[in-house]
């Protein structure tokens, strides 16, 4: 199981705990990761402000062209925004030969060429379909006995393509949560948007979106929220205090990456699980499990 790990920009900073825990569980599960040399930002969902569609397609295509030249393995994108931007452009390039030709004309400025053969995949897809629930189960040393986890999926993890999970009722993250010995609580708002890249600039609106998700998680018995997207993790965790202040709520629910829960269940250290990087400590909840 060899992959290009396209970590993207947030896994180098605000989502560094995703990266640390992913590398730790990758070792346990026999996955090897290689960085795409000289990768560039995917543009995320806000790039339309500065770039036209072709520029955004070129940003994504450059990464895939590099991956093709450096070995052609599947690109594994843990960040849902990276995943969806790369994947969306990849689909377009594979379906529209005239667009691929146009993009290649631009890539030629950097002596690059993309033939359209790379596959872009989300971490949840790889964990479920390549590694498999059985192997994950077998790696569990300290089961998260009965811990009620709200598996928040959000938007871009499965939408719009739904290539590996349902776009309306996804189940994969919950199956992984259950494989760790925890309980995946039913959580109707798991598919609603947290505000994504608009959070910082549309605080008032996004507070309400995040509040509704947090409330739904808590009301359904969730004691901890799990996610596989750095923007969801950031928005739901880092803004909790300010949401409480602005909307008169009283949330204090830890928000972790699914890879962090896996690392804990695999019996790895607190540092390998990157629990020390959380703003809202998960220790009390995890100790009780």
């Amino acid at each position: 199981m060899n992959y290009f790990l396209y970590q993207g920009c947030s896994l180098e900073a605000s989502g560094v705990h995703y990266m640390i825990s992913l590398e730790a569980i990758g070792k346990v599960l026999g996955m090897t990761f290689k960085e795409i040399e000289d990768w560039n930002c995917c543009g995320a969902s806000i790039s339309y402000v500065g770039g036209n569609e072709l520029s955004i397609e070129v940003l994504a295509a450059r990464n895939m062209a590099l991956a093709e030249a450096q070995g052609g393995m599947d690109i594994l994108a843990p960040c849902s925004s990276c995943y969806i931007v790369l994947n969306k452009v990849n689909h377009k390039l594979q379906e529209k030969p005239e667009l691929l030709a146009k993009v290649n004309e631009v890539l030629a400025e950097g002596n690059l060429h993309y033939s359209g053969k790379i596959k872009v995949r989300h971490l949840l897809d790889v964990l479920f379909n390549d590694v498999g629930v059985d192997k994950i189960k077998a790696a569990v040393k300290k089961p998260l006995q009965g811990l009620p986890v709200a598996g928040y999926v959000g938007c871009q993890t499965v939408r719009p393509y739904g290539e590996y999970d349902s776009v309306e009722k996804p189940v994969i993250q919950d199956k992984i949560i259950e494989a760790l010995g925890a309980v995946a609580v039913p959580f109707p708002k798991k598919m609603r948007c947290c505000g994504s890249g608009l959070f910082l600039t549309e605080l008032d609106y996004c507070y309400e979106l995040a509040r509704d998700i947090l409330k739904d998680a808590v009301d359904n018995g969730g004691r901890i929220i799990s996610t596989a997207c750095p923007m969801c993790q950031m928005n739901l965790e880092a803004y909790q205090k300010r949401i409480n202040k602005a909307l008169g709520t009283n949330f204090k629910i830890p928000v972790v990456f699914i890879t962090q829960l896996m690392a804990v269940a695999f019996g790895l250290s607190k540092k390998e699980a990157a629990l020390d990087r959380l703003l809202i400590s998960a220790d009390p909840v995890l100790k009780a499990a």
Binding site: C9, G51, S55, V58, E202
Partner: protein
């Protein structure tokens, strides 16, 4: 709001406005993904699926019909075209397969190039975000945030930075912030050349 569509619209009252196709043609030709709205049948599933629909002055469905009705000013100055969170709820449910997210982004990009500022904060942030990509090839989160704060002016920037200090401090203490400035990627010059060329070759209303 002036009635421009729907059962109460009286084309006789203003016959020149009735079937003005010029703006629709402009959108089909110049806006990225603009021609996709030809498929829209006005069912409203996009609006019903949108997490920020309540905050929008016009729903995506209304935007599409206003384009057909030639309402250039209303569409390009609409807040809604910059309130799309890119969650793709609309896209997966659209029975006519309109990529609503791409159309909204295309319209926003075009409106900004035409001098409209539908949502100023997001426009400023997006501008700094793109600036990072062009300068470095990657995003340096703290740099984008600071440039966005201080893009409001020194005084307002200091206030915004202070308002966000507990979060910034939290990120710093938990080592979730890069301390050193991000360095450009190795082939940044080639990347810039590509972006310049794509800007010139693509749609979107670049001068």
């Amino acid at each position: 709001m002036e009635q421009v569509v729907g059962p109460n619209y009286d084309p006789q009252a203003n016959p020149r406005k009735a079937y003005d196709q010029s703006f629709a043609r402009e959108v089909y030709q110049k806006v990225d993904a603009g021609d996709e709205i030809k498929m829209c049948m006005q069912c409203g599933v996009c609006a019903a699926s949108c997490p920020l629909k309540d905050k929008m002055d016009l729903s995506p469905r209304k935007i599409f019909t206003l384009i057909r009705a030639g309402q250039r000013e209303k569409v390009l100055s609409s807040q809604a075209i910059m309130l799309c969170t890119s969650c793709y709820s609309c896209k997966v449910r659209c029975p006519r397969k309109v990529p609503v997210v791409d159309v909204m982004h295309g319209l926003a990009h075009y409106a900004l190039r035409q001098g409209y500022k539908p949502r100023e904060e997001t426009a400023l942030f997006g501008d700094k975000f793109w600036g990072n990509i062009y300068r470095l090839g990657r995003i340096d989160e703290k740099d984008v945030a600071n440039r966005y704060f201080f893009g409001h002016g020194i005084g307002a920037g200091i206030k915004m930075a202070l308002d966000n200090r507990d979060m910034g401090l939290g990120m710093l203490l938990k080592k979730r912030m890069k301390l050193l400035p991000e360095r450009p990627i190795k082939n940044i010059k080639a990347l810039r050349k590509m972006l310049d060329k794509a800007k010139a070759m693509g749609k979107g209303g670049a001068a």
